[in-house]
């Protein structure tokens, strides 16, 4: 995984504010927990309010420091969401591939983000829990299994699956979203999502972070150039630079 090793050579680093949105119990916190701690808790209790976590993502030319808002999916927290996505440069909208209604909710979030979030925001649509679709080839045994990404093969692979890969992919393409199917349980595709987001952030909106604690307070110089297709998955992703990312203010501290 690209994110876990400390780089010895000083690379330019930038902070990226990222928010997770999606229906309750689709696995938002589990994705974050997998990404940040490489850990998984079955039957994790629902998040209350929101959790704030940070994790570095090492790209070949730079380090992206994610400042992650993991929001609660329950309806009563929905009114607080703008506070979290307002200045976000990236959003991860999560649904559960075994629950059709969660994709409907995800589409609502995408629409709200496109309407109200910063124009340059990078949105990734993520279908989680592919481990529950046995035929999927996502592998239930170990992490890193399922590089082969068999999710795209067909839409009626397992009884558990309620949202087909093609259907969600078509929607993501139409709305110019990054798209992945993941399993927080097995780790399948999790780091890829974050790497792809890191790569997709428009350079202009990247700012230098000042030390670990200062949450992207000031506007550092825009950092060095970045090669386009660093993430393994980003090549098959339809990414249009809609709304030309302009420099955004850091987080609201």
């Amino acid at each position: 995984m690209a994110d876990s090793t400390q780089a010895s050579a000083p690379k330019p680093s930038s902070s990226v504010k990222l928010v997770l949105l999606g229906e309750a119990a689709v696995g938002k916190s589990s994705l974050v927990l997998r990404f940040v701690n490489n850990d998984f808790h079955p039957n994790k209790e629902p998040t209350i309010g929101a959790a704030f976590l940070t994790q570095k993502c090492h790209l070949p030319a730079r380090i992206i420091k994610f400042e992650i808002w993991d929001t609660a999916g329950q309806e009563r927290f929905a009114s607080l969401a703008p506070m979290y996505y307002r200045n976000a440069q990236a959003a991860l909208v999560v649904y559960d591939v075994t629950k059709a209604s969660s994709l409907v909710k995800a589409k609502h979030w995408v629409a709200e983000l496109q309407r109200q979030a910063s124009p340059g925001i990078v949105i990734a649509l993520v279908g989680n829990k592919v481990d529950l679709c046995e035929e999927d080839g996502a592998g239930t045994s170990g992490e890193g299994a399922g590089e082969g990404e068999a999710g795209g093969e067909d839409d009626d692979d397992a009884v558990a699956r309620k949202v087909g890969f093609k259907e969600a992919k078509a929607y993501a393409d139409e709305e110019s979203l990054l798209f992945f199917e993941t399993s927080a349980k097995t780790g399948h595709n999790v780091s890829e999502v974050f790497t792809a987001i890191a790569n997709a952030i428009p350079e202009a909106s990247l700012k230098g972070a000042r030390g670990a604690g200062a949450a992207a307070g000031g506007g550092g110089a825009t950092q060095a150039a970045i090669s386009g297709g660093a993430g393994q998955e980003s090549s098959r992703v339809n990414l249009t630079a809609k709304g030309d990312g302009k420099a955004q203010e850091g987080c609201a501290c």
């Binding site: 209350i48 959790a51 009563r76 949450a215």
Partner: protein, 572 residues
């Protein structure tokens, strides 16, 4: 923190009933004094059915109690006020809990499970029932399991919609919810609301709050007022999630509102509270908080640090160690309500949702004791304290850290956008606490845990005690170890405390001192306007020895008052 709250009327005069000895001759005696008082206190009194009458409760003892305990200036009446209690009024719950008792270390014994249904059940009390199969094939089996639970809580709306049940899914319990609703509304219709009833060995207690009806069903022999306190606490949790006005609005717009939707995710918090009550929580029983024992100078250094780094939008700041308060910073005009703190502690330490994620949290919540109409925002950051020789500073806690060594910094603000401000304050606070050595002191105190009873009072016959300071709304206690090991033993001693508590708190009680003798334990409850003290000794401990132990605890508290309690706290 200090919120003087005298729960019962201060008393000056001592009456005949001041020292109350309950004793019981061996089997065969019937209820001999069925006076009104006996009847009204039946719930608690009957629990003592197993307590043996011994000659120790005679005059000789009363004399020695007096001499050993000058502060217990009571006229002793060797005669039992209530007479004997018949065996058949003992609840099976108590009998079964007692069934595992052995003389020597009564709380520490596992006995053949067939004798010990309640203890066995207690160990399975918190297991999930699972779901009813689609074809209903396992319904019978699940119902049996469901009925075996020692304790149930229901919450339903005034129109009878289920909102919460500790055990069992909707399909399983819908009939029962219907019955409960019918019973409640029948009495409400008659303008004579039902408060509680007994069926077999089970006590049912109802509480009606606004558009909600709450029901507690217990086989653990708790009193009505104790069960009602528990229901109040569940109700507070619902308000904490929704606020009172928004809940009322939902019901006035649509009386048939399904409250489970807006409450989604709160079940875990209600479960946490409910299970805490079932296990027996000193904090709930006494409506008080426990503090981490620290030297006065250490605590005031922490208080000063809190005041130093206080950020403008802060309302309350708390440092909490494994459910015990380390320090508090608050505005002069606002104290913290113990019920509110209990909700916060439950969220942080019982329900895993906050700490399991790692990282920091920003949680909107209503503190109904403070103000039940609006939300506050709570910043929470956890630390693990088991990083010994950690010179680098506090590690952000990992998701796997144990429960007993956790330290949380809780900063509460009315400002919804205050996260980064409070985060900055947290960083400054941690840095300063590290610098002035307070962090190390806190961690050491947490790791040391509770002192044992004999550490506090060397050579005492006491095995455990609860001391509540009424003025500070705080309590202190020693560790349950070594005498009360495991959940069943703790539940048993908590049951005993609950009975003592009830015996001096029930509306008809005018007791100031209560002494109980049983085959497996002796106990003493002592109440003054300043404190409540409950202590438990081994079997066959004389009343004099118990009283002496009690007095030594009171003396210890006097010496240690500013260490075991937070007096004042950091006020701005």
């Amino acid at each position: 923190m200090s919120r003087p709250q005298l729960l019962s009327q201060p008393t000056t005069a001592l009456t005949l009933a001041d020292v109350h000895t309950q004793s019981r001759k061996e089997i065969g005696s019937r209820l001999s004094s069925p006076n009104s008082r006996n009847v009204s206190r039946r719930q608690s009194v009957t629990q003592f059915g197993r307590f043996l009458g011994t000659s120790e409760s005679g005059g000789e003892d009363s004399a020695s109690l007096k001499s050993y305990a000058p502060t217990l200036d009571a006229r002793l009446d060797g005669e039992s006020m209530l007479g004997d209690v018949a065996e058949d009024t003992v609840t099976p719950a108590w009998r079964a809990l007692s069934a595992q008792i052995e003389r020597d270390n009564p709380f520490d014994v596992a006995i053949a499970p067939e004798d010990d249904i309640i203890s066995w059940q207690l160990q399975h009390e918190f297991e999930d029932l699972g779901f009813v199969q689609r074809d209903g094939s396992n319904e019978e089996e699940l119902l049996e399991l469901w009925k075996a639970k020692l304790k149930h809580f229901f919450i339903l709306s005034a129109s009878g919609k289920p909102i919460y049940s500790r055990h069992g899914d909707d399909k399983l319990i819908s009939h029962y919810i219907g019955v409960v609703q019918t019973v409640i509304s029948f009495y409400q219709g008659a303008k004579d609301p039902l408060k509680g009833f007994t069926a077999g060995d089970v006590r049912f207690v109802m509480l009606s709050r606004g558009p909600l009806n709450l029901v507690a069903i217990s086989r653990l022999g708790e009193s009505d007022s104790q069960l009602r306190t528990q229901l109040e606490s569940l109700y507070m949790q619902i308000l904490s999630t929704l606020t009172l006005p928004s809940m009322e609005k939902m019901f006035s717009n649509r009386p048939s509102t399904d409250l489970r939707r807006p409450l989604q995710g709160t079940e875990q918090l209600l479960d946490g509270l409910a299970d805490g009550f079932t296990r027996g929580s000193p904090s709930t029983l006494l409506s008080a908080l426990e503090c981490l024992r620290l030297r006065k100078t250490h605590r005031s250094a922490i208080n000063d640090t809190l005041l130093n780094v206080r950020s403008p939008n802060l309302l309350y700041g708390l440092i909490v160690a494994a459910g015990r308060l380390v320090s508090v910073v608050r505005p002069k005009k606002h104290s913290l309500h113990p019920g509110d703190l209990h909700l916060i502690f439950n969220m942080l330490f019982e329900a895993d949702s906050v700490k399991a994620g790692g990282g920091e949290n920003w949680i909107p919540l209503c503190l109904p004791g403070f103000n039940n109409t609006g939300f506050l925002y709570m910043y929470v950051s956890f630390f693990s304290t088991n990083t010994t020789d950690d010179t680098q500073g506090v590690h952000e806690r990992t998701a796997t850290a144990g429960k007993d060594d956790e330290l949380a910094i809780v900063l509460i603000s009315a400002n919804k956008e205050g996260f980064f401000e409070l985060r900055k304050m947290r960083n400054a606070l941690v840095k300063q606490l590290e610098k002035n050595g307070s962090m190390g002191i806190i961690k050491t105190a947490i790791r040391k845990g509770h002192a044992t009873c004999s550490d506090i009072v060397p050579g005492t016959v006491l095995r455990h005690f609860l001391y509540k300071s009424r003025g500070n709304v705080q309590f202190t206690m020693p560790s349950f170890e070594p005498h009360f090991h495991g959940m069943v033993a703790r539940r048993k001693v908590m049951t005993l405390y609950a009975q003592l508590h009830e015996s001096i708190h029930s509306r008809t009680a005018h007791l100031k001192v209560q002494h109980c003798v049983a085959k497996d334990a002796t106990a003493l409850a002592w109440e003054t306007p300043l404190f409540e003290l409950y202590c438990v000794g081994g079997p066959l401990v004389t009343r004099a020895a118990l009283a002496q132990g009690a007095n030594r605890i009171v003396q210890w508290i006097k010496r240690e008052e500013e260490r075991v309690f937070i007096i004042g706290g950091a006020v701005f």
